[in-house]
Symmetry: C2
């Protein structure tokens, strides 16, 4: 073989491509499922009042006191919570901790696009299970030999939630593997499986502060599971990057969780705007999936998704278009403020008439 | 084989054990090589003045504007800088990006204890090269077939720096593999290899804000290399956790780099105290390695390291003791403030007389 020098040892991977992040302040950014509203005023207070002198020391390696605050909020023990640097960090730790079988893990064919990326980089065999025609999950399809299961609830980019009774069926048929449910969007209308953690010691739930708690810029995610499974996530963390959550992020997270009224008021506003937008889109000829998230998944009966995407982009309104099988005529539209929503509806009327 | 249920798929790893992190505010904590002084007042201003409303959006995925600020400071292009969630995150990305050979990577037998942990978890073959009797690196020992080289300069826990002329020899003998130099402690007295990046396209330097910039609690590290090598680190990041550095950390990092006077004044204070402490220890019968870091590596001619460690611990003074071959009679002592240093010297005098 030819001597390629040091290049022969470089990793061979296909990088994940994140959604477009336009910089212009005048644009309407509805393409990354960020929250329409800022975080709680308590978060501003926590950051502004943070004593920077404390930063000379390492933060708590397990994310305390955020871990205990989350445990109390969800009725769990602190040792049942794992805190990480965004839910991607948490999910990556879960893939490494729990998906170590020669059997393929299972996840939907239409889902979060990072799952195959982690499987490739971590050499985890996987098999995708097609969603039904209406983009819902049929839990019976997961009753087959596998090395683990992961899916988001609600699913992304479909926005559709799976009923808890269906999840129980899936869990009962899969007691021999770890089942990870990615509850990134659960606060916007799905039924959380937190209360199933007592019964299913093979269940892991992952969460983020990026969506319902308006803290995408702070990089905070967490997982909830049995103490045993969380101990494996900690072992993975401690073998890779021991202190993933900084001291300011810990303080911001605690203050966000403690302001439950702001949290619930913000969720109510997003949900109300989502329902108004869904109706307006349907009135214009869109088919809109029943959303339990802070975004809509919509297809028009006349204009292609690509046409609508380009039209809106030219108007400075950014939504998400996926050039992928099954969903290449659908748009994923983040629910913005009422003002942003009105501007988008007006723009669409211009195109659609 | 017996059916172990889901436990059969759990990862099998030996967790890294971090240094003790005592919580009591009254103790003197000299066991984690944290900076004796707080970060620049500009960091406090950046944090206190941070507009939390911005946190609803994702941060820049490449850590801008911190990346450009660092590039300008070190005379590089922004594309030659990689910013991560602490230098452990940066080092882990480097191990994944660059150490993909069937040949073993080489590193010193006495060095940062995370290297074998990453090798194990990432299944990288490695071979340790013994330091000389005086704990220095002999670069001739690295002129052998290998899959990559990594060492800290100054080395830890020895505190000893390698001369740049020796590093050039090592680089010249190893043009076919990636050489990573972990410059965690370089600001305290070693010669950085930043100016060698122009000549050696197989050289990677890693850095942290945790030591010389007093920001251990903020989780900021970075790497500097050719644009090509940095692009591989970005590919690794984008295949695992795309947004590792939060928006507040980015702002804090920029303000720390921009206050160069504070940075240099703080370094001068730490170095001055280090020299005073080294002399005091030598006067008490310690052998102290010539330190280019913010810590000392010392052995007493009468008392064992374990005895001294326990004695100091009982007095509320925490230093680091490693129960490991070759170094189990040495202590790693972080350079504290002058007041902390005086208290430790007094305590040691009590024991040693």
């Amino acid at each position: 073989m030819e001597n390629q020098g040091f290049r022969k040892n470089l990793i061979n991977i296909e990088p994940y491509v994140a959604g477009e992040q336009p910089k212009n302040d005048n644009i309407i950014k509805l393409n990354a499922n960020e929250n329409a509203y800022p975080p709680s005023p308590e978060v501003q207070k926590a950051i502004s009042g943070f004593d920077a002198a404390k930063l000379r020391l390492y933060p708590d390696f397990s994310g305390e006191p955020l871990k205990s605050t989350l445990a109390e909020y969800y009725g769990l023990k602190p040792a049942q919570v794992f805190v990480g640097n965004g839910s991607d960090d948490v999910l990556a730790a879960a893939f490494r901790a729990f998906f170590n079988s020669d059997m393929p893990i299972l996840y939907p064919d239409v889902t979060y696009s990072f799952y195959p990326v982690w499987c490739d980089i971590l050499r985890i065999p996987y098999k995708t299970i097609p969603l039904k025609e209406d983009f819902t999950i049929d839990v019976n399809d997961y009753a087959q030999p596998n090395g683990g299961i992961i899916f988001p609830n609600p699913n992304a980019p479909t926005s559709i939630a799976l009923e808890k009774s269906e999840i129980v069926k899936l869990l009962d048929a899969n007691r021999d593997v770890v089942v990870v449910i990615d509850e990134t969007y659960i606060d916007f209308g799905g039924e959380s499986c937190v209360d199933l953690l007592d019964k299913y010691d093979n269940l892991v739930l992952t969460r983020t502060f990026s969506k319902s708690r308006s803290l995408a810029g702070m990089r905070l995610g967490f997982a909830m599971a049995s103490e045993e499974l969380i101990s494996y996530m900690n072992a993975v963390k401690d073998s890779y990057n021991s202190y993933p959550v900084d001291a300011v992020a810990i303080a911001a997270g605690v203050s966000a969780v403690n302001d439950d009224k702001y949290f619930k008021d913000t969720l109510a506003k997003v949900i109300s705007t989502r329902e108004r937008l869904a109706k307006a889109l349907e009135d214009m000829g869109f088919t809109v999936a029943k959303s339990a998230a802070n975004f809509l998944f919509a297809e028009h009966n006349k204009f292609t998704a690509q046409e609508i995407f380009n039209f809106l982009r030219d108007k400075g309104i950014f939504v998400r278009y996926f050039n992928k099988p099954r969903i290449d005529n659908r748009l994923r539209i983040t629910v913005g403020t009422d003002e942003q929503t009105d501007k988008m509806i007006s723009a669409l009327k211009e195109l659609i008439g």
